[in-house]
């Protein structure tokens, strides 16, 4: 009984009723997993197992297993950290910022995007923790616990410490936001289930009964959480960019970093959401919920943020020249023409040129083109962080210590480990949790009130 308005395109296609929404989403949770799911899950778990060899080797031997040297002290680890954190920005952006802007199309994708955020932040947090070398002592370096390893307390003047607070706050608030949204949907599954599943989803649903008073409080909580998460999501990548911007390394020491990093994070996050959602809608037959309309809107966000990133690259170059600081000028010329020219131009092609293809309607409404470009953007954003980190470090102030960075198998392996972890968690989520926010989709199913205003 989908009622459609004559002025608005329906967000959900296929004339779904409320019961269809419940059924289409719950059947993934209730049915036996498909062969395709098993195959995907086992692949992810295999990558996780393979990668954990590199992780164990790194923990056993120390970070000397990585390709770092006295000149390039940060390379793949921090590149991967920033890359994963960036990917982790889309979920909260979709659910919080788009909620504040009343963009109702978010309801079909926010659940999976938030899950992606949480898993990406877990992967991101792995890298600084491993990079500590002895992570079992990490609590003393990261948290304000008095200790005698260095100064008595942690250093609150350091952006690295701000990062600890930013990332852990972001992770826990995103987790709570995600879980609050899951509660009504767990209750739906509980009410359809019997036996053990009823007990498990009953506990997960926290005794939700859908009372009007609880919904009123729920809405109030969602709105405030969105209001808190919006500045939070912007603060997280801002603080990540401070890790670089507050140091006096040419190529890092610029005031443009916070907005430039935030735009880049949204850019890569939306690309990853697209990659995952295009697969999910296909595997779980959710084409009526995640429509071409949704894909097109996300592609538009990619054009905007991609263009901001492009302008930031050019501005950086201009300011390096305009500043008159020789070291700064050299850092940028070296990026584009030095030994890492290929990384720089991969970044420029993937991030600045390729998203501009989305101006063409045929491309931004094509699923295959979107899928390929979303991968291209993610590759480009990895290169962006690599370029910023490695090319700024490898030729420092002393030409006698100039060096190149070569990744070892452990560098590659630890990165693979996080891929395995991310996809294992995502596939588990996709099987056992409702991938689409049923309650919120139901609330946007009707676009007019014809029934009472005849």
């Amino acid at each position: 009984m989908q009622v459609t308005s004559s002025v608005r395109q329906p967000l959900i296609t296929g004339g779904k009723t409320y019961h269809d929404v419940t059924h289409d989403v719950s059947r993934q949770v209730e049915g036996k997993p498909s062969m395709l799911w098993f195959l995907a899950f086992l692949t992810a778990a295999g990558v996780l197992a393979l990668g954990s060899i590199a992780l164990i080797a790194t923990l056993w031997e120390g970070i000397g297993m990585w390709g770092l040297n006295k000149t390039v002290g940060w390379a793949w680890d921090i590149t991967n950290f920033v890359w994963w954190v960036g990917i982790g920005h889309a979920g909260t952006l979709i659910s919080a910022v788009l909620l504040l802007f009343r963009q109702k199309w978010r309801t079909s994708i926010n659940r999976a995007a938030e899950a992606m955020t949480i898993f990406a932040v877990i992967c991101a947090a792995m890298f600084p923790v491993i990079h500590m070398g002895r992570p079992w002592l990490g609590a003393y370096w990261a948290l304000p616990l008095p200790n005698t390893f260095g100064s008595l307390w942690v250093n609150f003047n350091s952006p690295l410490l701000w990062d600890v607070f930013a990332i852990s706050t972001y992770f826990s608030v995103s987790l709570v936001f995600w879980y609050i949204g899951l509660i009504p949907d767990f209750a739906t599954i509980r009410d359809r289930a019997t036996g053990l599943r009823k007990t498990i989803y009953g506990a997960l649903s926290f005794g939700w009964d859908g009372a009007a008073k609880t919904w009123m409080r729920y809405e109030s909580v969602s709105l405030i959480l969105a209001g808190l998460a919006t500045p939070l999501v912007l603060s997280v990548h801002t603080i990540v960019s401070f890790d670089f911007a507050t140091s006096v390394i040419p190529g890092w020491h610029t005031t443009i970093f916070p907005p430039y990093f935030v735009a880049g994070a949204i850019f890569s996050g939306f690309a990853m959401v697209l990659t995952l959602m295009i697969i999910t809608r296909k595997v779980f037959k959710l084409e009526d919920y995640i429509t071409i309309g949704h894909i097109e809107l996300m592609n538009i966000v990619i054009i905007i943020t991609g263009s901001i990133v492009g302008i930031a690259y050019i501005t950086e170059f201009f300011i390096a020249w305009y500043s008159g600081v020789e070291a700064e000028q050299y850092a940028f010329i070296n990026r584009a023409t030095g030994p890492y020219w290929w990384a720089y131009w991969s970044m420029m092609t993937c991030n600045v040129i390729s998203p501009q293809l989305f101006w063409i309607k045929k491309i931004r409404t094509s699923i295959i083109a979107t899928f390929i470009l979303s991968l291209v953007v993610n590759i480009g954003m990895w290169f962006e962080r690599f370029v910023i980190i490695v090319t700024s470090l490898h030729r420092d102030y002393l030409p006698s210590s100039w060096a190149m960075f070569y990744p070892t198998w452990a560098d590659v392996g630890v990165y693979l480990f996080t891929f395995g972890l991310f996809f294992t968690l995502f596939f588990l989520f996709a099987k056992f949790f409702p991938v689409i926010n049923m309650a919120e989709v139901k609330s946007v199913l009707k676009s007019s009130s014809e029934k009472v205003h005849k």
Partner: protein
């Protein structure tokens, strides 16, 4: 519970019909126990006459607590307990304390508010809710009327009011 409670349930298909029905039923003097819906129906809390939630106030207070804790902690550690010169900065380098102050504000506001929400709505993993109709988490809106609270009115009369307000089904449910 010491004695049985009996409820008359009106089942509604459409949210707009439900909103008008709530107004109609309340205008006849019938007291509604609660309405259960599968998704948030906007305006329902107004027609039911619920007061606005005070959760934003809780969030604000927890937020202030977070800011104060963060600032107290940082000034205590950096200025009073173990002052060190770092990068030539002042011991009490206030601008450097803003990021952690902000993050702790958000953290406490979010967790405090969600905690209050959980307690006030009795949400906990071991909660055993009264489910009036299992379809209320699928596609039906359920209006529950407690007979004990409407003892002045005949059961038949309540059924009539519900039927005329657009309910597609009228059921009775008792809890022990």
């Amino acid at each position: 519970m010491e004695k049985d409670t009996h409820f008359i349930l009106g089942v509604y298909d459409d949210e707009d019909v439900l909103l008008q029905a709530v107004e109609k039923v309340r205008s006849t003097g019938v007291k509604i126990h609660e309405v259960f819906t599968p998704y948030p129906v906007h305006g329902l809390e107004d027609v039911l006459g619920y007061k606005r939630s005070r959760l934003p106030i809780a969030a604000f207070l927890f937020g202030i607590l977070g800011t104060s804790l963060a600032m107290t902690m940082q000034f205590y550690m950096m200025r009073f307990d173990w002052p060190m010169i770092i990068g030539g900065k002042d011991y009490a380098a206030f601008p450097d304390f803003i990021p952690v102050g902000f993050e702790m504000t958000v953290l406490l506001a979010a967790f405090g508010m969600v905690g209050v929400f959980m307690i006030s709505s009795n949400l906990k993993p071991w909660a055993q809710p009264r489910i009036f109709d299992e379809r209320s988490s699928d596609d039906k809106h359920i209006m529950a009327i407690d007979l004990a609270n409407n003892s002045t009115m005949e059961e038949e009369k309540i059924r009539e009011i519900l039927a005329s307000s657009g309910a597609t089904e009228i059921n009775k449910k008792s809890f022990e």
